[in-house]
Amino acid sequence: MSNYLTSEENLIRLRRARIIYTVAAAMAVSAALYLLWALRELIVPTVIGMLMAYICLPLIGYLKNRGLSRSWAVLLLFGIFCLILFSAIKFTGDLIPDRKTELELQARVRYKLNDKFEGIMGLGHGGNWFYHLFGRELEPLRAGIDEALRISEDSHRLFTAFHENSRETGAEQVEERYWRYHLANRQRDLARERTGPDHREDNFATAEVPGRTGAAPGSSLLLTLFNAVSLWLITPLVFLILLVDDGKLKRELVHNMPNRYFEMTLTTVDNINRALGRYLRGTFIECFLVGTSFTICLFLIGLEMQWAAAIGIIAGLANAIPFLGPAIGLLVGVLYAVMAEEVTPLLPFIDGDNLLPAVLVVVAIVQLADNAIFQPYVLGGAVDLHPLIVVFGVMGGAVIFGFAGMLFAVPAIMIGKVVITTIFRQFRAYHII
């Protein structure tokens, strides 16, 4: 049609088209950003579904090579994925304590923490050399954690009601030793109140979560779990859709590219696909190996399988965060070692007294194996980010999206880096810039 227009009219038409395209693009970007913000709770489940589908794609090829049709291969993987996802949700649900167990745990951790601190510092005999050397620096940290674990007066009343197995709550009786821990904690508080002025009644950890106090603590927990589970329903759906897609998304993207950029787009998408695949699959396998190593080693030194697996999963997941990951694994392991009461180690020389050093040794062994074997073997040179970028990225991710942000910050930066460097390399190769 443009053939019937004069060159001046053509110029006006082009200018008009440019304005319309720019406005449409700006509106689309704004709408996308708004949707991203409005649906931010769905981001993590969606991203996990996408990542898992991406990681599993080569398995489809493997199963097809083994004689299975694509549909059966997808169905098989989907079944396995659903099984793992729902087992993970159930496992996590089992680990989430109810109000009574939460209070018991709070009292237990607080008591054990103070007890271990006093033991390590030799406070019973006026403090040892370690206390005199580092005590002043460590005391505020201990006091901070202690304050965070304090059970408020309201919670104390609830705990007392639980303990007395009152008819109103109908709850199980609190285990006697945890009640004793709680009483010991309160006595320590009273002693501190008499001796020191730094006592505060309210703190963030003991503040009541709305809807969690009162007569029916279990119902709110179920509601929370239901909300979380309903959000996570999108994960298997995304997984299935992407596996069924069979590269249609990529083909649609390439199809819409102008002819001039056709070959360049094919090469760019392929290069990005390769680099990301190597990185994401490598990271997944590395995290899996670290988590499994943690679970086995912690089980060997006497942790219950349930807790060894939970700590293994946390340490494995956190391992995706460079620098901070091992620290999180260490922290969780140490926390458990501090509050552990009964250990049934498979190794004869480990008991409750040397569990803490044993956990430290486990963390050191797993980190050594990760650095010396897993990373070089599985990841190769796939991760190449400046430490400063990693630290800022992880902190930024934590500020915006919390723990999920920390976890996905480095993969997101890696994706951005691979996409940008590949695009620019191809732009130069095809003489576009």
């Binding site: 090829g61 097809k64 090579n65 069979d246 083909r251 390439v254 199809h255 002819n259 001039r260 056709f262 070959e263 360049m264 094919l266 090469t267 392929d270 190769a429 095809y430 003489h431």
Partner: protein
């Protein structure tokens, strides 16, 4: 091309008709001539349909080669520009011909440019997709690469003869 009547059924099954036409066409291309119907359907899944206007470059000399093109309809000139930027037509290709096949072997720069001499419909095959096909379906890969080797050999022989006759 004769315009096709649009019916309710063609709206529903238009895609399948297009696919059937493409499969029939791919079966006539020398590179895929030895493939069975089922194998052709697998190859069809990695074909990219592209339409070029008259005088539009399909690829330029010196760019990294990533795909081979098969002409479904239209005409393509393989050209080389001399020092004065004058285009020398090296060959002209029409329906069922293919070009850019060396890109299937590696990503070395294109040795000449390809320009659509008139409105041209092509199917492009990306090197990596074909490599994956080779891994997943070795029997298809074997037939395609064997045909490719024979065609390249034949073209080389023809070029040698032309050089000797000069």
């Amino acid at each position: 091309m004769t315009p096709q009547k649009t019916t309710m059924w063609s709206s529903f099954f238009g895609q399948n008709n297009r696919k059937r036409d493409t499969l029939l066409f791919l079966g006539t291309v020398p590179l895929f001539a030895s493939l069975t119907k089922r194998e052709l359907a697998t190859v069809h899944a990695i074909a990219h349909h592209r339409i070029y206007q008259e005088d539009e470059f399909i690829f330029r000399k010196g760019q990294p080669g990533a795909a081979m093109f098969v002409v479904k309809s239209g005409m393509v000139n393989i050209v080389d520009h001399d020092r004065d930027n004058q285009a020398n037509i090296l060959s002209t290709l029409d329906d069922n011909s293919f070009f850019g096949e060396l890109a299937l072997l590696d990503d070395s720069p294109r040795s000449a440019s390809a320009v659509a001499a008139r409105s041209t419909e092509t199917f492009a095959f990306f090197r990596t997709d074909l490599e994956r096909l080779l891994n997943s379906f070795p029997q298809i890969g074997h037939k395609v690469y064997r045909a490719l080797a024979m065609i390249i050999g034949k073209r080389l022989k023809e070029t040698n003869e032309q050089l000797l006759n000069k």
